[in-house]
């Protein structure tokens, strides 16, 4: 059932399509390649998870999708970067990005406190955003704001509109930000660690809301997180990132239950799950994260990988497709054979 849905989705046109994203940063006269070729397709109504430990380049990727990196130091290049299959964003300048952000591409961040201006009420900030992207009068904009808040489960909308950010809890602020982002009906929402600063019940509420936005409003959502439980909770597809590369991608359920890449497996074994009986003890991944800016000749995970051989040090594995083109893995020795 789920497979059918994703099949039709892959045939459908991607809302945002990206091929071979490279990103390098110049610092002190030296150029460091941080993102080393990423392919990404976001479809309407689908939640895609971008998973990895801190320092793997997942937030950089998210920022690059919105043109948020300082063009003086960061050089973003890609073979293909299309919005709605026709708008080429590769050459977009700051003015163009500013028009796209909010209206077509929206983003929410980890720390909801810093994303809201403390001296204006929620209402003032929401109306400003709505009126900037659509030419409606104040009353109409207010209706849109109220509807958007109600849609996000914030029923006490009058009080919220009159509140200042510090008067709301962290979970509420995050939901207000989502409501604000959704009020302009964007095609794509990028959520960068939206739940890591939140409690378990607020986290549950925010994740439910993101799923709701994808299913009921057809928005394409990219969930950037290090939390595999959050991925399992709402994502249709997952990309696992490490040291600026995608190591594995595929449908969430298949990837989480039968990981192909040793890194995905290691992440899963480090993540605790609640069971009714005593679960197996989590296993930390040996060593530490490969620094993003250091160039490696072979597979970046070699130093921490239990299956690594000489081949892995010498040669970087390509991302191979398999299982009816649904799953991809970049590993010389994947954990299971899969038909290519």
């Amino acid at each position: 059932m789920i497979q059918n849905v994703s099949q039709t989705q892959s045939e459908k046109q991607a809302v945002l399509s990206l091929r071979q994203l490279h990103l390098s940063l110049t610092q002190a006269g030296q150029e460091y390649e941080l993102i080393k070729g990423i392919d990404l397709d976001l479809h309407g109504g689908e939640v895609v998870g971008l998973v990895g430990e801190s320092g793997c380049g997942k937030s950089l990727t998210g920022n690059a999708l919105l043109g948020l990196l300082p063009s003086a130091q960061a050089h973003v290049r890609s073979q293909n970067f299309l919005l709605n299959g026709k708008d080429d964003l590769r050459s977009a300048d700051e003015g163009r990005w500013r028009k796209l952000r909010g209206r077509h591409l929206a983003m929410i961040f980890q720390e909801p406190q810093s994303a809201l201006d403390p001296v204006f009420t929620i209402g003032q900030q929401m109306l400003r955003v709505i009126q900037r992207h659509s030419s409606v009068d104040r009353q109409r904009a207010r209706d849109v704001a109220v509807a958007s808040l109600a849609d996000c489960g914030l029923v006490d909308s009058q009080r919220i509109l009159q509140s200042y950010p510090h008067q709301l809890s962290g979970g509420m602020r995050q939901r207000v930000l989502i409501a604000m982002a959704l009020s302009c009906k964007p095609e794509v929402l990028i959520a960068d660690e939206p739940t890591s600063a939140l409690d378990i019940t607020s986290r549950d509420q925010v994740l439910a809301l993101l799923r709701h936005a994808a299913v009921h409003h057809g928005i394409a959502i990219l969930l950037i997180t290090h939390d595999l439980a959050a991925v399992a909770r709402i994502c249709d597809r997952v990309l696992v990132m490490y040291a600026g590369r995608v190591l594995e991608s595929g449908p969430a359920v298949a990837l989480l239950n039968d990981p192909l890449h040793p890194y995905t497996n290691a992440l899963l074994q480090a993540t605790p799950h609640v069971c009714s009986s005593q679960p197996p003890m989590v296993k930390p991944i040996a060593g530490r994260v490969q620094a993003l800016h250091l160039a490696v000749s072979g597979c970046a995970f070699t130093a921490r990988c239990p299956r690594a051989t000489d081949l892995c040090i010498r040669q970087s594995p390509d991302l191979r497709a398999g299982d009816g083109n649904k799953r991809h893995v970049a590993c010389h020795y994947p954990l299971a054979d899969f038909a290519t």
Partner: protein, 346 residues
């Protein structure tokens, strides 16, 4: 674990903070909370932010004063501790904080930081000092080349483990860990959980682990305490808690953690756009009447908004460590009418 004498005992402990907001000026962060910590056990305190778990942790080590009630260390009320005994309390009860980045002094090398607890203890020679520091480092799986570094050169997980090594150098019998996991990556979380578990069995150190992630808690906890608005809603042995939490709030927390996980298998996201609990916890400045949780409770009875529920024991345990207590009208034996969900309970 099952020693009868608790290491630390809280009796009807309340902690208040002065705040200026509206008319009310006192915020009751912890309300008449009783809890015992036994040697060598890991007791997890779970709850949302603002439920008072950090205030509780700070009261346990004496960083904030109790406004009423009592803290007893091995049977002696802390206000009666003086001189050497008081120093001993501080040495024996160490604390780990949430933010590893501010846990270490930025201008001091790791060696300086680790030497500090030894300097103020009984006289030790430089050689003994070095041996103890190296031993503590290997205890937390770090090598000695880290000693000459400064905190900002380390990752969050390494800093948290250095903070743990510093605590270990005090030879504590109890470590209070206030959200030690939430700023760390999964792999570092796993490493720290393994360390806690190892220190409990090897050194018989007790932990109060303050956390909000039940999945991490289940890895190591012997007992689970659920806090909401300054009160202890449920206290149970971990095995009992994860098989069937009794309080509706605990049940919601559990469901939020495990909803997509069937043993050994990640399930498809189903009904994923409905949260397990709606709304926000009420402000601790104006706690609801009756049961503090009644405003969000799906199994609310009529009397919940008026009558404060009493503590009910669900199991006749031989020791205090085995007790399962819940603060909820659903488990009252003399209150009528019975709620249908009560029949399902074991």
């Amino acid at each position: 674990m099952s020693s009868t004498e608790p290491l630390l005992e809280l009796r009807q402990l309340s902690v208040q903070h002065a705040v200026r907001s509206g008319g009310s000026t006192r915020l009751e962060a912890v309300r008449e909370l009783s809890l015992s910590v036994f040697p060598g056990e890991i007791i997890a305190v779970v709850g949302e932010s603002g439920c008072g778990k950090s205030s509780l942790a700070r009261a346990m080590v004496g960083l904030v004063p109790a406004s009423s009630g009592e803290i007893r260390i091995q049977g002696v009320p802390v206000q009666n501790l003086a001189g050497k005994a008081r120093k001993n309390w501080h040495r024996q009860t160490q604390m780990l904080f949430q933010d590893p980045h501010s846990a270490l002094s930025p201008r001091r090398t790791i060696a300086d930081t680790l030497a500090e607890p030894l300097e103020i203890q009984e006289k030790v020679t430089a050689e003994q000092q070095k041996q103890q520091i190296l031993a503590a480092l290997s205890e937390v799986n770090l090598s000695s080349d880290i000693l000459l570094r400064y905190p900002h050169q380390l990752s969050g997980g390494q800093k948290q483990r250095i903070a743990l090594a510093r605590a270990l150098l005090c030879k504590p019998s109890l470590i209070i860990a206030d959200e030690p996991l939430s700023a760390l990556d999964v792999s570092e979380q796993a490493r720290l959980l393994n360390l806690f578990s190892k220190l409990r069995s090897d050194k018989h150190i007790a932990f109060v682990l303050i956390a909000h992630d039940l999945a991490a808690v289940q890895q190591v906890a012997d007992r689970v305490a659920v806090m909401y608005l300054g009160q202890l809603l449920e206290l149970a042995p971990a095995a009992r808690f994860f098989q069937g939490a009794a309080h509706p709030y605990s049940q919601a927390l559990l469901k939020a953690t495990q909803r997509n996980w069937q043993p050994g298998y990640w399930a498809d996201p189903k009904e994923a756009d409905e949260p397990v609990l709606k709304g926000e916890p009420p402000s601790a400045l104006t706690p609801p009447s009756g049961c503090v949780f009644h405003t969000r409770c799906a199994q609310r009875l009529e009397l919940c908004s008026e009558v404060v529920p009493g503590q009910h024991s669900l199991v006749q345990a031989a020791s205090a460590a085995g007790a399962h207590q819940v603060l909820c009208h659903l488990y009252s034996t003399d209150k009528l009418p019975l709620h249908p969900s009560q029949q399902e309970k074991p």
